[in-house]
């Protein structure tokens, strides 16, 4: 049985139209508490006007992504005892995206860049054609599969300094998906895709800082995918490769 109850010093970003600020709440500390538990407690017990997003709360959907003590994380999968600095925790909306209210960001720019990177499958056949015979040990399929598990949570986008300094930069997630499609032999839009990722906001702006690799909860490697795009676009200059 615990003696006196412990409290967390939680700073949460509040913003509604225009500039925001941090507000502090005292949140009772519990065993196995996650950051999402903390945010939920604040909204239910302290301030019902707090806005935030979550859905599955079990680390599958990526909706609860926020900046926790300066690093982008899934809050439902972040234990307080792992990240708290003493008793202090700072929670802010995802970096590099416009804030709608408090902890909820506008994901539109993220998805607009997804489309701009041509990270969209372009079919080469119809339902009347036979199925494409792709074996699981095909090297291209393996490359595509390694990059395919992205659930568009936006954490890599928030972690990336190039996204922060270059408004046109398509970002790790969009480029990662573009790479998985470059490796999809059923796709018919390869030339247009390589063109799409070679513009001013394209893959060549990546500095390989690998903040994306460090923070991706699905352990994807967008830097490797972007390097793949760099190779593919370089080859296309000389007319080599697909």
């Amino acid at each position: 049985m615990r003696g006196s109850e412990e409290f967390l010093d939680v700073s949460i970003w509040r913003q509604q139209d225009g500039d925001g600020h941090f507000e502090t709440f005292q949140v009772p500390r519990r065993d196995n508490q996650t950051i999402l538990d903390v945010v939920v407690w604040v909204q239910q017990q302290a301030d019902p006007t707090l806005s935030y997003r979550y859905a599955c709360r079990v680390g599958m959907c990526g909706s609860c992504a926020m900046m926790v003590n300066g690093a982008p994380r899934w809050t439902c999968r972040t234990h307080v005892q792992k990240v708290a600095k003493g008793n202090r925790v700072e929670i802010a909306p995802l970096r590099n995206l416009p804030v709608i209210k408090d902890l909820a960001v506008d994901m539109d720019p993220f998805f607009d860049k997804w489309v701009a990177a041509d990270a969209v499958f372009e079919p080469s056949q119809t339902r009347n054609d036979p199925m494409a015979p792709i074996t699981p040990d095909d090297p291209m399929r393996i490359a595509a599969s390694e990059a395919i598990e992205c659930i568009n949570c936006g954490i890599c986008y928030a972690a990336c300094d190039v996204v922060a300094s270059n408004p046109d930069y398509l970002g790790p997630a969009a480029l990662n998906r573009a790479w998985s499609l470059v490796n999809d032999s059923r796709d018919a839009g390869q030339e247009a895709r390589l063109d799409a990722v070679s513009q001013g906001g394209g893959c060549h702006n990546c500095h390989a800082q690998q903040g994306c690799v460090r923070h991706c909860p699905n352990e994807l490697n967008p830097t490797a995918s972007i390097s793949g795009l760099k190779r593919a676009t370089a080859k296309s200059i000389f007319g080599w490769g697909a």
């Binding site: 003590n69 300066g70 690093a71 982008p72 972690a159 300094d161 500095h207 390989a208 800082q209 690998q210 903040g211 460090r214 923070h215 490697n221 830097t223 490797a224 390097s227 760099k230 190779r231 370089a234």
Partner: protein, 113 residues
């Protein structure tokens, strides 16, 4: 103060590469100007070359060679990352690049003494 999401080895590798590049870009015009003095004023150049016998200058030269070597090995590491098959040992290569750069500049320094 470095933000938490940047405290990893590969980010430092990037920052080192950028800083060394800026340093070299600032140094080069001066270097070129000094060399061209061989044409217009060889005596001034000779005087300057004698000045490089000073220990302080030799330490500065060590710093310059270090910047050059770290920028080059860091750049080669980056190009290996981009164009060769991916390996998980990128951090090791980053450290190796710095170590090699240090080695090269030290040997320069020792020879110059």
């Amino acid at each position: 103060m470095i933000r938490p999401h940047r405290t990893h080895a590969l980010w430092f590798a990037f920052m080192l590469h950028r800083v060394s590049g800026i340093g070299l870009a600032l140094f080069l015009p001066v270097h070129f100007y000094m060399l061209a003095l061989a044409l217009t004023d060889p005596q001034q150049l000779d005087g300057f070359l004698k000045f490089t016998d000073l220990l302080l200058v030799k330490c500065a030269e060590f710093g310059l060679v270090f910047l050059l070597a770290v920028h080059m090995f860091g750049g080669l590491r980056l190009m290996a990352l981009e164009f060769l098959p991916w390996t998980p040992r990128q951090k090791t290569y980053a450290a190796t690049a710095v170590a090699l750069a240090f080695f090269v500049s030290t040997s320069f320094f020792l020879r110059a003494l």
